[in-house]
Symmetry: C2
Subunit: 555 residues, 2 copies
């Protein structure tokens, strides 16, 4: 029993089992922690603090526009050794095969990705997407390796109304002893009580009272600190109020720039401690609590556990020195080869378009101005309905960038001959040219906004050529800036630094064209037909509150 | 969602998820908690406190000499709605079929019994027992319904030496996602570090430092308050020192008298609070913590959980008013019919014995005194080795009750023609007659101690006639007192009050014969050949430290 081990780490251990700090030696052999005491060792390491590798309780890697291996290169050195990944976006493009491809692709990274099976694909029947995951497909995917849960159940009205598809998916997860993730923004009161009977956790709270109500009814509550939703600051007082064992930290989504500049869930750890929470308790929220939520074997430093260990210079600032995954020191330092042989490419499939494809025509006899319904992008993921007028020229509704009224189009791009939906958007700020993206939640069709239809056609055709991505176009100098996202039209297979630079370049270019700072992010949600109020799908303008198509022109 | 429910309970809820007390209404319908808020209800109940039903983390029902249904009648009204039962004793008598019978028999009680599969049957090869559970049998039993773990792994030397049988059983549990219970008395240091790699919990700590060391290495630690081992008082300070989420309460064994007079794990709850622990934290240790240890769906009051709820007049004294199990109010109040059709009876199988069967003969030429090895029962489960002399008459070693030197015999009773082991015991105090029991850990042969061989034969034959039990016999008035335990020779199928009275009667009778107060309990451990130092099996006297048979006479 006192055989020589391959590695010994000495330092102050963050013991998440006991919730205490202890001076300890951690003996590691063949990838596994074998003892929390001195052993003769081939290699000895010293650290000020020794902590378990962090686990992100809920995230979508697609939000960072990179593959899991590239994501791993970014976060493992920051002490994030595992993520619970919901491949919801790729599922909307490539279905069950896409999910399987992501699971397989994760073998290329030391980052321990565990998976939840997307439960809500498609988001509605108001839009063409690339694939659907009916309950039969979900059930099959639940048996895939490293699957730990049914992914965030979004169809709360269906859940509460007894929708058979929703319940079949939940039953399939329960039969397998798997967790069922919830997605319950602003679900409170009677509806929460009912939903809590079926779901295990939620990461959508934005207010302390909402989070408290959820933890009261037995849900595990994930405090989210992402790029589009930053809730940690508001929710952190919960730690003082209730037993923190039922709380976890997650990112949900991290844009590539935030990921590189600030980190993944390690950023949430740092922020929580900075805001006054006890560091040991915070580490528990990013390790053992999440491990218990999904029955993961890691997330703690104890004999028998995999040696996923972070050596810290400082605990309070989560200042990482070295990282061990399965006993391997700094396993991502050589980086991941860019090429993946598994992930779906060539997923952008629509005929070449021209300016006229984006024109909304009105019948003869109309005035030179037309009253129309406009999606008003008011910041974040929110939109408000807006009624205003645009000029009519030769029977066509003309965008009016002077009043920030841009033409908006959603081009079906999954090869379904689904056509083009047309509308108008206010609030993006673009003064000339066009911007477009094949990242357009959740169906991920091709969304383009522009000050003129010709520029929009140029952008759409460029996206087609790139097999997906994000593009800005300036007609003045006929210049494109592009970030190619050939994997499902959502992700790059390039190193994260390259993606970071290209994304910044497109964003900067769009800024030069007058686009608001958060414009590209807002653009990618304008087609999400399940969030009020107006959204555009490839089938036309949707009033989400009624779940109905409406005309752009006001009769 | 605001449909009428069948039951509404109002009171101060012990919310074990949040670790807080909250004024709440708990709405119950069709056996399930549907909401933690007001609902129109057919039946409304009020309580000062509302808590989840308690879960005993580890127990052997055989210790109480009743069936699970009778045990349920005793503890459900005390707010214990679940037990994790290790049917280790019946397995030693009746093997896998016995375990299956117990699992099936549990359907007769609202008490929610969950099972661990005995991992260590037989305890050794030094004794004949009724059955063995090799790894193949263990593996099959792990698939039985309501099995939640591999039962307490006792063979720590085998575990550490890589014994294939031990590891095969552990692997089988792991493959099924089940917990692996440990049994590590005084295992510390290197051996603990190694054992902790394979085991999930331990309930054998007797000192605070031992318990602290175990929780440090990641084991869940169960604080035990049984009849033969009462460790709660010593271990309770642990709650102040470490995060109590990894601590649970258990009884291990409760004699029928303690069970009726003081309760099951509810007694531990009451005692912990009386000794100063926070009542909410104590309830967590007897509910959600244990539920998490075994992945149980109950042990908390939240929407979707079974309505296993205790209505308390007072929390600090755990003063129970009413109990709901699956929404049914006071489900055991009508009592359980005594007869079980499932459990094994007729398990006591040996030929009629006579006085001469208990005689140890010595060769001619010996003196009138003979130096012998004696088991010295020094209290609790402990024995010390003792060397002394007894008289020899007609070549036979004669017990000497004046010096508390009793004849002791272990009669193989499982129909294996295993014969009789003979020896001597000091410390039981019997002045005349004999006492005997078919409860004789772990092989549960028939153990008899007596002041003369004829009385011992009378007791053994009476036990044979009863199909097992506990018997005292006074030759002066030729009077027996008996508790029949016809189920596997371990348990009665009578109501617990009857068993209580009969056991008290035998104990009182034995006391009249001079027996020490704890004598019957000590008797039942004198054949346990895995606890130092001297023990008697049907094959003879064993020096446990060496794992070898030794002669009674000292050469």
């Amino acid at each position: 029993m006192t055989d020589r081990v391959d590695t010994l780490v000495r330092g102050t251990l963050v013991n998440v089992n006991t919730g205490t700090l202890e001076d300890r030696a951690v003996a590691i052999d063949d990838g596994t922690i074998v003892a929390l005491e001195e052993r003769p060792a081939e290699r000895e390491l010293e650290a000020n603090y020794v902590a378990p590798g962090l686990v992100d309780a809920h995230m979508h890697v697609e939000s960072s526009m990179v593959t899991l291996p590239q994501y791993g290169d970014a976060v493992v050195p920051r002490g994030v050794t595992s993520v619970v990944h919901d491949p919801h976006e790729i599922a909307n493009v490539a279905g069950a095969d896409g999910v399987r491809a992501v699971i397989r692709d994760a073998e290329r990274t030391p980052l321990k990705a565990r998976f939840t099976v997307p439960s809500s694909v498609p988001a509605s029947d108001l839009q063409d997407c690339g694939a659907a995951l009916p309950s039969e497909s979900v059930t099959e995917l639940l048996d895939e390796r490293n699957v730990v849960a049914l992914g965030e159940v979004m169809n709360i009205p269906g859940l509460l109304a007894g929708d058979e598809e929703v319940h079949a998916k939940i039953r399939a997860a329960r039969e397998r002893g798997l967790t069922v993730d919830g997605h319950m923004p602003r679900v409170t009161g009677d509806r929460l009580q009912e939903a809590a009977r079926y779901l295990d956790n939620d990461h959508e709270s934005i207010s302390l009272s909402e989070a408290r109500e959820k933890v009261d009814v037995g849900l595990r509550v994930y405090l989210r600190e992402g790029s589009s939703s930053k809730n940690l600051g508001d929710l952190l007082p919960l730690v003082e109020d209730v037993d923190s064992r039922r709380l976890s930290l997650c990112t949900d989504d991290r844009e590539v720039t935030d990921l590189v500049d600030e980190g993944g869930v390690d950023f949430a750890v740092r922020k929580a401690v900075r805001e006054g929470a006890d560091p040991v308790e915070v580490v528990q929220m990013a390790t053992i609590n999440t491990a218990e939520s999904y029955g993961l074997p890691f997330g703690r430093v104890q004999p028998g556990a995999p040696a996923d260990i972070v050596l810290l210079d400082d605990l309070r600032t989560w200042d990482v020195d070295r990282v061990l995954v399965d006993g391997e020191l700094d396993p991502t330092q050589d980086g991941t080869p860019a090429t993946s042989t598994h992930l779906p490419t060539d997923t952008v499939d629509f005929p070449t378009v021209s300016a006229s494809d984006f024109a909304i025509t009105v019948a003869d006899g109309h005035s030179s101005d037309e009253r129309i319904r406009v999606i008003d992008a008011v910041g974040g993921l929110q939109t408000d309905p807006m009624i205003t007028t645009v000029p009519v020229q030769e029977g066509i509704l003309i965008p009016n960038p002077d009043e920030d009224l841009l033409s908006l189009a959603v081009v079906e791009r999954h090869g379904n001959d689904g056509g083009i939906g047309r509308g108008f958007v206010h609030g993006l700020g673009l003064e000339r040219g066009a911007v477009g993206s094949t990242v357009a939640h959740d169906a991920h069709n091709c969304v383009v906004a522009g000050a003129d239809h010709a520029s929009m056609a140029s952008v759409a055709n460029k996206l087609r050529e790139l097999e997906g991505g994000v593009v800005a176009y300036d007609p003045v100098d006929d210049e494109f800036s592009t970030l190619a996202l050939p994997i499902a039209g959502l992700m790059s297979n390039q190193p994260i630094e390259t993606v970071y630079e290209r994304f910044e370049a497109v964003e900067s270019h769009a800024g030069d064209l007058g686009m608001a700072e958060t414009g590209l992010m807002e653009l990618s949600f304008l087609a999400l037909e399940v969030i009020p109020t107006y959204r555009l799908t490839n089938n036309g303008l949707v009033d989400v509150t009624d779940g109905k198509y409406v005309d752009v022109t006001v009769s």
